[in-house]
């Protein structure tokens, strides 16, 4: 296989999510419904499921902060409601990831929908959370817990989110790493010859 063609075919793998050398990468995370929930002060908790997609700067961050942008959100509550990024927002929701793994969205602009009712735009200030990294430097998990103060008698809504790279991402990442290892091994052989 010609080297150029091989490189082109491998390009998607080389740009796979969470690869540390990439300046910007996309990571899709899947919520763990057993640990992700929305709990009204008055009422039963609802589990949350779905995905969120992040656009990241260098991860894990080196000496400074890095961009941590939410570019996709598709969450369903067990009660039937859905939560996504407010489509009136231009561009992604912009956040910051600190070297220690804690992150911040100064504002999280969401659209909430519920069957047979009007949609609702909602902006939440200073949503924070934490990500962890695997030994290979890839993003391993995300968690956040925050409350939404309705300012009304019904009180706060407590939100918990725990998410991990979606299953499909892990084999892709493993495949990319394996291919890179093969390429490196072949290059070493060629260099020896």
């Amino acid at each position: 296989m010609p080297r150029l063609l091989r490189t082109l075919l491998l390009l998607p793998l080389l740009l796979a999510p969470a690869f540390p050398a990439a300046a910007v990468s996309l990571v899709t995370l899947t919520l763990d419904p057993t640990e992700s929930s929305l709990t009204p002060m008055l009422g039963a908790p609802q589990s949350l499921s779905g995905t969120l997609t992040l656009s990241l700067g260098d991860v894990p961050p080196g000496g400074g902060n890095t961009a941590f942008d939410l570019v996709g959100l598709a969450i369903t509550a067990s009660g039937g409601g859905t939560i996504g990024i407010d489509p009136s927002v231009i561009g992604p929701l912009l956040g910051v990831l600190h070297p220690a793994g804690d992150w911040l969205f100064p504002v999280l602009s969401l659209l909430l929908t519920q069957p047979s009712t009007s949609d609702l735009s909602l902006s939440i200030a200073d949503v924070t959370g934490v990500v962890t990294f695997g030994s290979d430097g890839s993003l391993a998990s995300l968690s956040s817990a925050f409350s939404i103060d309705t300012g009304l008698a019904v009180g706060n809504l407590a939100v918990n989110v725990v998410a991990v790279p979606e299953p499909g991402t892990l084999p892709l990442l493993a495949g990319a790493l394996a291919t890179l290892a093969t390429i490196a091994q072949r290059r070493r052989r060629e260099a020896i010859r």
Binding site: N65, G81, V107, L120, L122, S123, D126, S147
Partner: protein, 606 residues
């Protein structure tokens, strides 16, 4: 985990907690109501000639008229502003962004409500908007308006009391019987700040000679106090943004270009802010021709300060031929009348103001107060259409087109509302009325046949980027008259009754560069070429800044890199709409711009 969050949402709670349908919530009302508006005053720049400065031998005295409004020893070195915020769960929580805005020509803080509310909500309370109410606003005699409001807000509204409030400002005259009691009442008097009673205290030029020292230097130093306070609140990782609407864009650009160090050092305004937001005008222009020399400048200031002639004006006495302060009072009362007596004949039309020139040639039909305010604020019916917005229309009677008379200051034609055949007052259709009449493409004037005319005009195609600015696009109807009525009588109202002209006009001749004056203790607009903060410009295609070219002159004069000069033109928006539109299409662009700047700040990226 420490996570503070805010929301706006009765509806959210309904969905997830109570199972109540979202549709049961009033659209928009719940969220808008959560934004808090406070009118605040803090000590301003101590301008030494100003009453209350305490600078012996320099401080100017106040007249009895001023004292009746403000008390025997007023301190006029105050800076006032309307602060828009969302209550936070943590009362000590600080916003990450504060946007400070300067109103335009003869404008108070009132017109900014809708824009400020939408921005505060979009950031979930992580942003505050502070709208400046310039110094002269504190000179307004609001006693009659407050009295009238109190009478209307009673459990059983007191209409006679409201009429007394009207007669405080607009007393009976021969042939004018405001309350219809058949006699010519004396002016209605109210307790004043000197312990007596008095009717409306309308300032003359000689009551405000201290305004000779309220020039650019005084204003920007007032605003620097707010900028410094804002910086303290948001911290070094937060944003302090500065901007303005209309002529306020000129003020904003001048603030950025100002050197606050009157000595040889430089303390530039732009270094105190993180960005400029220019709404519906293109910022400060180049210095004018025939600028005064240093000596002529000082002479002019001295004349303004010492003259006893009304022609030496420190404030604008009239606008479109009518007293500006009477306009201001009438706007307060009409706002009250339209809010508390919707659909009924306007009581303001009983006053001499509306029965004499020039208003008696503009208001010729019986109107409701909503229609009266609509007439003056809407770009289809206002005699000053260039400064108006898109608030709906009145089509329940014949309308004719009043021609433009540039020599008389009427720069574009406007609809004149004629009486209805049945004698009932003309009603106003708000911006969202589905029956507003749409014009044919490139509509000329369908009202000449005696019909109602039309309101949604097509202004034609967008000019090419290289063409001079010109209006284009399909006119939008976006601004809520009902909301506007309430801004007319709130603290920090719609009009600036005593808009400073003498000294500010002297200063504004220098535009964005006062270097030729050669005296930074008087005026120090010297840093414009060094201004290098991000700038976002918002225009309205039916306004005063209809294309990108509207901003080219100013943007070309500053050092900001091209990538940080952004422009958005809102199609169909008129001059006021960028402030007053209900679902403002410029807001997402402003929010995106601010979000990017905030992220850059948090990342430590220049």
């Amino acid at each position: 985990m420490n996570a503070r969050a805010l929301t706006l949402s009765l509806a959210l709670a309904a969905v997830f907690a109570m199972g109540v349908a979202l549709a049961s919530c009033p659209p928009g009302g719940v969220t808008d109501a959560l934004v808090r508006r406070e009118y605040l005053s803090v000590p301003g720049y101590v301008e030494p000639h100003t009453p209350g400065s305490g600078v012996s031998g320099v401080e100017m005295p106040t007249t009895t008229t001023v004292q009746q409004i403000l008390g025997p020893t007023p301190n006029l070195n105050q800076v006032s502003y309307a602060r828009f915020s969302l209550p936070r769960p943590d009362p000590n929580a600080k916003p990450r962004i504060i946007l400070i805005l300067v109103p335009g020509f003869v404008s108070g803080a009132g017109p900014f409500n809708a824009l400020a509310q939408q921005l505060v909500l979009a950031f979930g309370g992580n942003l505050e908007v502070w709208v400046i109410d310039r110094r002269p606003n504190q000179l307004e005699d609001l006693r009659g308006s407050l009295y009238a409001q109190g009478k209307l807000e009673q459990a059983t509204p007191d209409l006679n009391g409201f009429l007394d409030g009207i007669q405080f400002y607009f007393p009976d005259q021969p042939g004018v019987d405001v309350n219809g009691n058949g006699i010519q009442d004396p002016p209605f008097a109210l307790p004043d700040a000197l312990g007596g009673t008095s009717p409306f205290r309308q300032l003359g030029q000689n009551d405000a000679r201290f305004m000779a020292y309220w020039g650019v230097d005084t204003y920007v130093r007032d605003w620097k106090i707010l900028v410094d306070q804002a910086r303290e609140e948001v911290g070094p990782q937060g944003l302090v943004l500065f901007g303005g609407h209309s002529l306020g864009t000129e003020w904003a650009g001048i603030f950025a270009a100002y050197d606050f160090d009157p000595g040889p050092g430089v303390d530039a305004g732009y270094k105190k802010i993180d960005g400029l937001l220019l709404l519906e005008l293109g910022g400060p222009g180049a210095p004018g021709a025939n600028l005064p020399t240093h000596a002529a400048y000082l002479d002019a200031v001295n004349t303004l300060a010492t003259s006893t002639l009304d022609t030496d004006q420190v404030f604008l006495p009239s606008f479109s031929g009518a007293s500006l302060s009477q306009f201001g009072a009438a706007a307060e009362l009409a706002g009250l009348d339209g809010t508390f007596r919707p659909g009924l004949p306007s009581l303001l039309q009983r006053t001499a103001l509306f029965q004499t020139f020039p208003l008696n040639i503009v208001v010729i039909a019986p109107l409701t107060s909503q229609t009266m305010i609509g007439l003056f604020l809407d770009n289809n019916t206002s005699p000053v259409a260039e400064l108006a917005g898109s608030f709906g229309f009145s089509d329940d009677g014949p309308n004719s087109l009043f021609p433009a008379i540039p020599s008389a200051g009427i720069l574009s034609s406007f609809y004149l509302l004629h009486p209805r055949a049945d004698g009932q007052p003309r009603q106003w259709k708000n911006y969202n009325d589905p029956t507003l009449p749409t014009c044919p493409p490139f509509n000329p004037d369908p009202a000449v046949d005696g019909g109602p005319g039309c309101v949604i005009r097509d202004l034609g195609p967008r000019p090419a980027p290289t063409d001079p600015p010109a209006r284009w696009g399909l006119e939008a109807q976006v601004s809520d008259l009902t909301d506007m009525l309430q801004t007319l009588f709130q603290p920090g109202n719609f009009l600036e009754w005593y808009y400073g002209t003498g000294r500010t006009n002297l200063d504004l001749q220098f535009g964005r560069d006062s270097s030729s004056l050669g005296d930074e203790s008087l005026l120090a607009v010297t840093q414009n070429a060094n201004v290098n903060v991000p700038v976002l410009c918002i225009g309205g295609s039916d306004g005063l800044a209809p294309t990108e070219a509207s901003f080219a002159d100013y943007l070309g004069s500053i050092a900001t890199p091209a990538a940080d000069k952004q422009i958005f033109i809102a199609e169909g928006y008129a001059h006021l709409d960028v402030l007053t539109a209900k679902n403002n299409i410029a807001v997402p662009y402003i929010v995106s711009w601010m979000s990017q700047l905030l992220q850059r700040k948090l990342l430590g990226t220049p």
